[in-house]
């Protein structure tokens, strides 16, 4: 028996059945470490300084505007009766939506054993964390008296009053903070083996000390790996429901209310699909230029881009279906207010928002049906930006489009953003990109250990890698 197996030679699969490998060009494992860690090592490249010198002042300007806001009043923003929520809530939902791709990629795709996730999960999780930071800024600063924001925490305060647990805004506090905590933990646990790699490669004492501190004494022993994999699996299991719950609860902020256009049972799944759609859009927006600039085309291959485009297509189609269903129900329900709200979306004063939303979210992703589109990186980049433009307009239509004309015509109004609204939004971009650039510069932007595990060479049964005969090197 053993004799027979000794002579068994594994053949490479026929060319037409072979999948494009996840690491191109048969790169050796050492090359993977060098390339990925190299992005965070060596001299800081010029493009990084240029990008940082734009994003950092933008962030500071944003902080300045927040100081202006807190010292003066929320009135410096656009909202006014009857549109009491404006760009702050739009941007909150928009950013938190973007923050959905990271955990979906790292947790749900991990449980579903989608091996391609390894090349994108680290950057996507970082994106998630920074996007949630941008998002979480808004609800805090949009309230009238920021210094009482801690009332949202379930601490019996000096008045012995608990927060109103029946309010979806309250649920939001728990949902977002839980999501942020678990995302950070998950990201950090995944980073540990790679931090150890960075530690071992460090050339200066301070780098060695800091990476070593955060690597928690990782040696790569079997026991470490065994514990690590268990912890990672548990965190993936914990994160999975959170991916679905956070945006469901954000959607309840709207659907729990009475307002036509908000009071809809379809909101939770519709918001989750939209969030994943926008998150994947942002992943594309970031990774398509990044893989080029950091010369990572062989690790983040066209196959990766292709798959991300397909997920965008799938979730975009769910969003398109939800739009259709919303209109159908508005008509089918016979509720005149509901009908009016949805009529206003397309033919009201904010008609452009409604059409932008349908164009960018329902029509644009349909282009991803075509392989040629998915492989045209310039086009993918442009479309990925349109995805998030569309998702911004979706929230615009939902928040402002529903509020400006509701039940009683005497209360109808109009909303205009102020320059502070616009610049605070730009400030959150500054915050996001500042943190993202720092991440690129100091941490490995791709999970080195995980990519090695899915490289063709790592598979002992693969004819081109690992063991050739009987699971052992010949």
């Amino acid at each position: 028996m053993a004799e027979a197996l000794t002579h068994l030679q594994l053949q490479a699969p026929p060319a037409e059945l072979a999948r494009e490998p996840l690491v191109a060009n048969q790169r050796p494992l050492g090359w993977i470490s060098d390339t990925i860690a190299g992005v965070a090592e060596g001299k800081t490249p010029t493009w990084w300084w240029i990008a940082f010198s734009i994003s950092f002042p933008m962030m500071l300007f944003g902080f300045g505007l927040i100081a202006y806001l807190i010292s003066t009043g929320v009135g410096i923003w656009g909202p006014n009766h009857p549109v009491m929520w404006g760009w702050a809530i739009i941007n909150f939902v928009w950013w938190i939506g973007i923050g959905h791709a990271g955990t979906l990629i790292s947790a749900i795709l991990f449980l579903l054993r989608q091996r391609w996730r390894t090349a994108v999960n680290r950057a996507a999780e970082a994106m998630t964390i920074f996007a949630v930071m941008c998002a979480a800024t808004y609800p805090v600063i949009h309230i009238g008296r920021v210094w009482f924001g801690w009332w949202m925490l379930p601490l019996p305060n000096s008045n012995s009053i608990w927060p109103q647990f029946r309010s979806p805004l309250m649920w939001d506090v728990f949902a977002v903070s839980t999501y942020f905590t678990v995302s950070v933990l998950f990201w950090y646990v995944g980073l540990i083996p790679d931090l150890a790699v960075m530690r071992d490669r460090a050339r200066t004492k301070i780098r060695k000390f800091l990476y070593g501190l955060f690597a928690l004494g990782w040696t790569g022993s079997h026991r470490h790996w065994s514990n690590y994999e268990k912890a990672y699996l548990i965190l993936a299991g914990l994160s999975t429901p959170l991916v679905l719950s956070v945006h469901s609860i954000v959607s309840l902020d709207f659907s729990v209310s009475q307002l036509p256009g908000w009071h809809t049972t379809i909101f939770p799944p519709y918001f989750v699909a939209g969030a994943i759609y926008s998150g994947f859009g942002m992943v594309l927006t970031l990774l398509v230029p990044l893989r080029k600039i950091c010369k990572l085309e062989e690790v983040i291959t066209l196959r990766h881009i292709d798959v991300i485009c397909k997920v965008t297509l799938a979730t975009g189609s769910i969003v398109a279906y939800a739009y259709g269903m919303e209109y159908f129900i508005a008509w089918y329900s016979g509720n005149p207010y509901e009908k009016a709200a949805f009529w206003n979306r397309l033919f009201g004063k904010y008609w452009y928002g409604g059409w932008a939303m349908i164009f960018c979210n329902a029509l644009v992703p349909q282009l991803f049906w075509f392989r040629k589109v998915r492989h045209n990186l310039v086009l993918v980049f442009i479309l990925s930006i349109l995805v998030n433009v569309g998702m911004w307009f979706e929230r615009f239509v939902i928040v402002i489009g529903s509020l400006y004309q509701d039940f009683i015509p005497a209360n109808w109004g109009y909303f205009r953003p102020t320059w502070v609204d616009v610049c605070t939004y730009l400030g959150t971009f500054g915050l996001f990109f500042t943190f993202f650039l720092l991440f690129l510069r100091f941490l490995p932007l791709i999970a080195i250990a995980e990519v090695k595990a899915v490289a063709p060479q790592a598979d002992p049964h693969h004819p081109l890698g690992g063991a050739k005969v009987q699971g052992h090197h010949a």
């Binding site: 010292s71 929320v74 009135g75 006014n80 009766h81 309230i143 036509p260 015509p409």
Partner: protein, 224 residues
């Protein structure tokens, strides 16, 4: 703390939010941040630390501002949601007066008609009635028992305490107060009238008569 969620949810949109320190600043200086305004020879912010009330405007103006306000009605600071309180200060005044008067007798029920809200007092048509709706014999309760009493947007089940009496019109063309007016929005529409803006379609089914205070000034209801 000022999330303004209640206002978004209010189908009547009766709430108003203090977006600025209206109680402290003249209307033309609302946007001025104490972080970059100087007054009385010091920065607004430094002054604010000394006295949070008058910190954001010059001392003299503050003295004047205080005199302008109705001392009975407080406009609270920025970040607070305001709403009609049914003249709570008058209700409290009457309540205290009644308690004092009752003394040990325990008769603390305020007689109907004692409290008159400011709007009620000011209304020349005397169209506003305020009173105890728990007392079936109060004037307001008796009016509420009429068949023409209705709640605005009653189907939303918000149970508003404030209700309206439907308008009474004379349908007899021979009478002097007869008007060539439709009795309902539905009737008005059936006469071939249409709202100017397609966006106002909703109101067409809602039968909520009343002029639109819309920007374009579209007035779906014929002027009286």
């Amino acid at each position: 703390m000022g999330t303004r969620y209640c206002s978004n949810n209010c189908p009547y949109k009766v709430r108003r939010f203090n977006y600025f320190d209206y109680n402290k600043r003249p209307l033309d200086q609302l946007y001025k941040s104490p972080l970059y305004s100087r007054m009385d020879g010091q920065w607004g912010f430094a002054k604010w630390f000394q006295d949070v009330d008058k910190g954001t405007i010059p001392d003299q103006e503050w003295e004047l501002m205080k005199l302008v306000r109705n001392p009975q009605v407080t406009v609270r600071m920025r970040g607070v949601m305001e709403k009609c309180t049914f003249c709570l200060q008058r209700v409290e005044q009457a309540r205290i007066a009644q308690k004092v008067k009752a003394g040990a007798s325990g008769d603390i029920e305020i007689p109907d008609g004692t409290i008159r809200t400011a709007c009620q007092q000011a209304c020349p048509a005397e169209a506003i009635v305020f009173g105890n709706i728990k007392d079936p014999n109060s004037r307001v309760s008796r009016l509420k028992q009429q068949a023409r009493d209705y709640q605005v947007l009653d189907f939303l089940s918000t149970k508003p305490r404030l209700t309206y009496l439907a308008r009474v019109r004379n349908p007899n063309p021979a009478m002097p107060d007869y008007h060539e007016k439709p009795l309902s929005f539905v009737e008005w529409e059936s006469q071939g009238n249409r709202l100017e803006e397609p966006g106002e379609q909703g109101a067409a089914h809602g039968a909520t008569p009343g002029g639109s205070t819309d920007e374009k000034g579209a007035r779906p209801w014929p002027k009286h």
